[in-house]
């Protein structure tokens, strides 16, 4: 188990969003968390990435409590791409990606040849080498998202948490980003946990799905096990047909309409 949440209670201030949740992430898998708005999926991801301190329970990274490992050491193993991240104005792609090397640097080792190599490799893998000197503002949404993923890659971690990496992207760019994620997983055996809104893409690109509702895990397993008509009713209050995706054979959700409220 690479990453584990054990009885975590999560919230902001007095408002508890997740009350006692257990979840384990196996090594070298792509896990996608799905669920309706406000169900706590981003909150859970933030806790897994130690961006949010649990009010109860614990998060374990490779069996050790994540809050007892120096945050810099965590950053060498675990990369997190937060939802809608913000960068300072005028920053170039190369500068952004170079920032990913932060946990590997010290005041006397500010830019080693390892850093240079890792940044070049990350830019190459996301196909951004030619855009390296461009300011982020000049990129398209898909390119910008790839630049952020590139930064997480330059960090050199084999565990990646991505919070809605496809928001604000058109379908072609969503597929482009998810293909990249799949490539990262298949080529280097990286463990990926992400939050996605699109159920069909989630089913296609994930090994495991975790369905959440109101701060609880309702179901987890392979896309075939999780994405059923019954679950869609229970979790999303959606009346839908689930058929086989004609391209990939994974479950495909065809909505009929919202469940009548009683």
């Amino acid at each position: 188990m690479r990453l584990q949440a054990a009885g975590v209670k999560l919230g902001y201030g007095d408002r508890l969003i997740v009350d006692g949740l257990d979840l384990g992430i196996e090594a070298s898998t792509v896990t996608t968390i799905i669920g309706p708005n406000g169900c706590g999926k981003s909150t859970l991801l933030r806790a897994l990435g130690r961006l949010l301190k649990p009010q109860g329970g614990e998060v374990l990274l490779d069996g050790k409590r994540i809050d007892r490992i120096p945050t810099r050491e965590v950053a060498k193993v675990l990369g997190v791409l937060p939802q809608a991240p913000s960068a300072p104005e005028g920053l170039t792609v190369a500068d952004l990606v170079a920032r990913g090397r932060h946990p590997h640097q010290t005041w006397y080792r500010q830019w080693s040849s390892d850093d240079e190599g890792a940044v070049a490799a990350a830019l190459d893998m996301t196909g951004l080498s030619d855009l390296a000197e461009r300011p982020l503002e000049e990129l398209s949404g898909g390119q910008r998202q790839r630049a952020w993923i590139s930064m997480a890659l330059a960090q050199g971690t084999d565990l990646l948490l991505l919070d809605e990496p496809t928001t604000f992207l058109d379908l072609a760019h969503q597929v482009e980003v998810l293909e990249l994620v799949r490539h990262l997983h298949e080529a280097a055996g990286r463990t990926v946990v992400m939050v996605l809104h699109d159920l069909n893409l989630a089913a296609r690109y994930a090994d495991r799905l975790v369905a959440m509702r109101a701060g609880r895990v309702v179901a987890s397993g392979t896309p075939h096990e999780v994405l059923t008509e019954g679950l869609l009713r229970e979790v999303f209050e959606l009346d839908a047909k689930v058929i086989a995706d004609p391209v990939a054979g994974t479950p495909l959700v065809v909505p009929i309409g919202p469940l009548p409220r009683d």
Partner: protein, 345 residues
């Protein structure tokens, strides 16, 4: 950005920043020498130089006891204010942030004015040591207290740059009004002295002002430089910075503490000199063309700006000497506007 690298050590330097820092230091030495000509006995530049370096010269005593400490106070105070401003602007991600926003200068003003005004003429008759040490000590105390109030009110499960700026502006407004109220109720002689102090003045500054400022800079500059990498990282959103392995709140708190101490010590020495902390980092930023205010370069710009302003304050309306703070505002504002205007094109 140029990289200097051996097998174990690698440094990144901006050649432009290095060149500007060195040019600034030469300019600073020249301005200080010009400044030291002025006084009861006017000297020529060669007289100033022999007076500084030749122990047996007639002018040596005057230079060492009066003119050099005054010039040094100006340079050190300017550097400290500018460095403080550079840190705060980077953390608040706001070019309009300055120690004033952190409650340091306004807090110092209130306590000093209160000290001068409320203790009445009794304060004025207190002789020597307490009079010289009293005001700086009051200023230091008020500056730290002001910062503590702003920090306390702005803190809410962490520190947000935007919230800090808003709270800071509010607290500064309250302090400023209390200050004006104190000035209206005070005795006319006390308020006159208070007015000179709150304009920011280098008049009569001696080694007792140089030493604390120099010590503070000697400790805080290296510490701040060690925090440079955190400062770079803190320009990103909190989640991104945490993900990169930076302990956001402790890093930010330490850097703000350094900025507060720098500004408080500077204000204790020379009063709240306006605009240096605000303008110097932005001037340095535009000259170096970096992403955030460069630290050392800002400090040198601050020293040059303050010394140049003092030179003008003492010569333009000679024999009347203006408080330096009046000139820094008049001098810094147009230059900053010019730089912003130019960089817009």
């Amino acid at each position: 950005m140029t990289t200097l690298r051996t097998s174990t050590v690698s440094w990144r330097v901006r050649p432009r920043a290095v060149a500007l820092t060195l040019t600034g230091l030469v300019l600073l030495a020249l301005l200080m020498a010009l400044d030291m000509r002025i006084g009861e006995i006017e000297m020529t530049l060669p007289e100033v130089l022999t007076g500084t370096f030749d122990v047996n010269s007639a002018a040596h005593f005057v230079i060492m006891e009066l003119r050099l400490p005054r010039a040094l106070t100006g340079a050190l105070v300017g550097a400290a204010l500018a460095l403080s401003g550079a840190i705060i602007q980077s953390i608040a991600r706001n070019p309009l942030a300055s120690p004033e926003i952190l409650g340091v200068t306004t807090g110092a003003s209130v306590t000093v004015v209160a000290g001068l005004v409320l203790s009445g003429s009794a304060y004025g008759t207190v002789s020597g040591l307490l009079a010289t040490l009293g005001v700086p000590a009051l200023a230091l105390l008020g500056g730290l207290l002001g910062a503590a109030i702003v920090y306390g009110l702005a803190w809410r499960r962490g520190l947000d740059g935007y919230r800090l700026v808003l709270v800071g502006i509010g607290v500064a407004a309250v302090f400023t009004n209390v200050k004006f109220w104190l000035l209206t109720v005070g005795d006319i002689n006390d308020t006159a002295r208070a007015m000179v102090w709150i304009s920011g003045s280098l008049n009569g500054r001696g080694w007792e002002h140089v030493v604390p400022t120099a010590l503070a800079l000697a400790v805080l500059v290296p510490l701040t430089l060690l925090g440079t990498r955190s400062l770079d990282a803190l320009r990103f959103g909190d989640d991104t910075v945490t993900a990169l392995g930076v302990r956001v709140n402790p890093a930010r708190a330490l850097l703000i503490l350094a900025a507060v101490l720098l500004a408080a010590v500077a204000t204790a020495s020379a009063g709240p000199i306006a605009f240096v902390a605000l303008a110097s980092p932005q001037i340095a930023l535009r000259l170096v063309r970096s992403g955030r205010p460069p630290l050392l370069c800002s400090a040198v710009v601050g020293a040059v700006l303050t010394t140049a302003a003092d030179l003008i304050a003492r010569t333009v309306f000679s024999p009347v000497e203006l408080p330096v703070g009046i000139v820094t505002a008049v001098l810094g504002a147009p230059y900053l506007i010019h730089l912003i205007w130019r960089s817009r094109k």
